[in-house]
Amino acid sequence: MNKMAIKWLYQELPGLVAKGILTQEIAGKIREYYGEVKSVSKTTTMLIILGTIGALLIGLGIILLLAHNWEQFSRFTRAILSFAPLVIGQILALWVLWKRPDSAAFKEGGATFLSLMVGASIALVCQTYNIPGDAGTFVLSWMLLIAPIVYLMQATLPAAIYLIGITVWAGTYWNDPLKAVIFWPLAAVIIPHFIWSLREELYVLRSIILSFVLIICASIGSSFSLGKTWDGAWIIIFPSLYSIFYFLGNLDSDKITVNWQRPMRLIGAIGLFVLAFIFTFKEVWKIGTGYSYGITRHISDLSAVPDHIISLSIVAVSMLLFYDFVKRKNITVCLFGAVPLIAIIGYFLKGSTGILPIIIFNVYLLFLSVLRITSGIRNNSLGIVNSGMLMLAILIIARFFDSDISFVMKGLVFIIVGIGFLATNMALARRLGGAK
């Protein structure tokens, strides 16, 4: 349960008891049921944020100072210098674990600083000995050396740095999918920490930042590593990936939260809509199905196996979650999360023209946006109505740009859509006003 909601409930309890809506006994039982809210004070939160940003800035500053390349120093001095920031970072981290093992601010800050110093140290050695510009090897050795910090110090920012680092590493192998695919086992290293941070506290800055970074890195990482074994695989892989985010973000949906606190749901939904929208264009089904990330040489045989395994697992997980939500009879979530399923059907029905999938996706998006509008009206929620109307408007506008309809017709349709927006909003606003 969201802490903010419980706090709110506890604030309300005395008033409810006073007005005779609840008895003192029931109020007590409610408190017993939800337990004490262990409150992290605002000062502590500020300490963590400022401490971590401070460590980050100092760390980056040291990297820049070393990048200046002080050539008056001898090779020996430079060798010593390479270790100085690293050892300082290590001593600091050890001190934190020794003296302040319970301070999240110290642990997060110390771990972040140490993570950066490991990179600074290797970078300086590379500089001193003119080690070739193989960015991949440099980043990978750095990341492998900081991954344990995440667990030893329960620190989240190093986990974020690690995820970004391995994504960069996978990027250097974008044309060598057999290597890039190692991104997935590397990313899996962070999963226990991610689950830990979610368990520790859902919907707080720490897990939100990590979720954001994880989603973005997983999306970019898949474009580097997956879908290179058969043409147009991206049409199935990406909707599946975003639907996984979307479904996971919708678990425990009874919690009171705002959108930015649920990056999985937010980015998942946006990703699914954007993909479904892209799938309404004929170019996707004509050209896009032959597209496999600019790689001319397709990998096949045994070397394609890792790609297949991970791609199929992503699709399978997506389908299992879909099935789970169907069982829960959560129609709204299921409809939105059906994009991968429809994409698979579309992929096999596309033929040479791709007419069928285009029709399917247009009808699907029309249905989805209208449903969203009506459900928003039913629940008196302006936000949902407007997002539904935005989806509808995007669809209609796109259709009128890619067909041969006269300007007069286009103009009229725009005006009608605009009036529709205003009218629905006014009607809803009046209704909401009336409800009060």
């Binding site: 990297i63 070393l66 990048a67 200046h68 390349n69 002080w70 050539e71 090779r75 060798a79 390479s82 270790f83 690293l86 050892v87 290590q90 981290a93 050890l94 674990l97 020794w98 093992p101 490991v118 990179g119 140290s121 290797i122 970078a123 300086l124 050695v125 590379c126 500089q127 001193t128 000995y129 003119n130 080690i131 070739p132 510009g133 440099f138 050795s141 050396l145 344990p148 910090i149 030893l152 110090m153 060598d176």
Partner: protein
């Protein structure tokens, strides 16, 4: 628990120190006892956010002419055998898949073959310099090349196929000195 974490961090700290230390020791060893070669090069100045400014090196003899039967696809690990021309500069004579005996060689990867040549991705492609010095170095080189003297080269130490750059020379001078002199003018 606390002690376990501290022990873990101590072990990690050792590994974190070991990695850069082993990088240093390996290269110091080559610089000390490796065989010396000169490669003609063209320097240009780019920049790396983490490691600073450097002059990128385009080695002149970074290829071998294809040998009949052996076709090397891109990305093969090969041994490039070094030969020295009559002017004292090194270039590559041939490439083999097995470690050569009794000849100086560098372990490298093959690039795209083109025009009957196999290009090599050599383990020296950059020379780090002070922030302001790297662009100045490129300018110093350009000045020299305009005078028709294309005489930039790197001195490399090679041992058991492993190469480490010792220094970069332009117009017969170490680049750092050339930049300082150009600065004085």
């Amino acid at each position: 628990m606390k002690n376990k974490l501290i022990t873990g961090l101590l072990l990690l700290a050792l590994v974190q120190i070991y990695v850069p230390l082993s990088m240093i020791i390996k290269r110091e060893n080559v610089l000390k006892s490796g065989e010396q070669f000169k490669f003609r090069t063209v320097p240009v100045d780019p920049f790396d956010a983490f490691r600073g400014r450097y002059v990128a090196l385009r080695i002149e003899g970074d290829h071998v002419t294809k040998q009949g039967a052996q076709d090397f696809e891109k990305g093969r690990s090969v041994y490039a055998i070094i030969e020295v021309d009559d002017q004292g500069f090194a270039r590559f004579d041939s490439i083999t898949l097995s470690r050569p005996i009794g000849k100086a060689y560098i372990a490298a990867k093959t690039g795209y073959p083109s025009g009957g040549k196999v290009y090599l991705e050599l383990p020296f492609d950059r020379y780090y310099m002070e922030e302001k010095a790297a662009p100045a170095a490129e300018a110093a080189y350009r000045q020299h090349s305009q005078q028709g003297k294309l005489d930039a080269y790197i001195v490399v130490r090679v041992k058991d196929g492993f190469a480490v750059i010792e220094s970069l020379y332009v117009g017969g001078q170490r680049i750092e000195d050339a930049v300082k002199q150009a600065g004085k003018k």
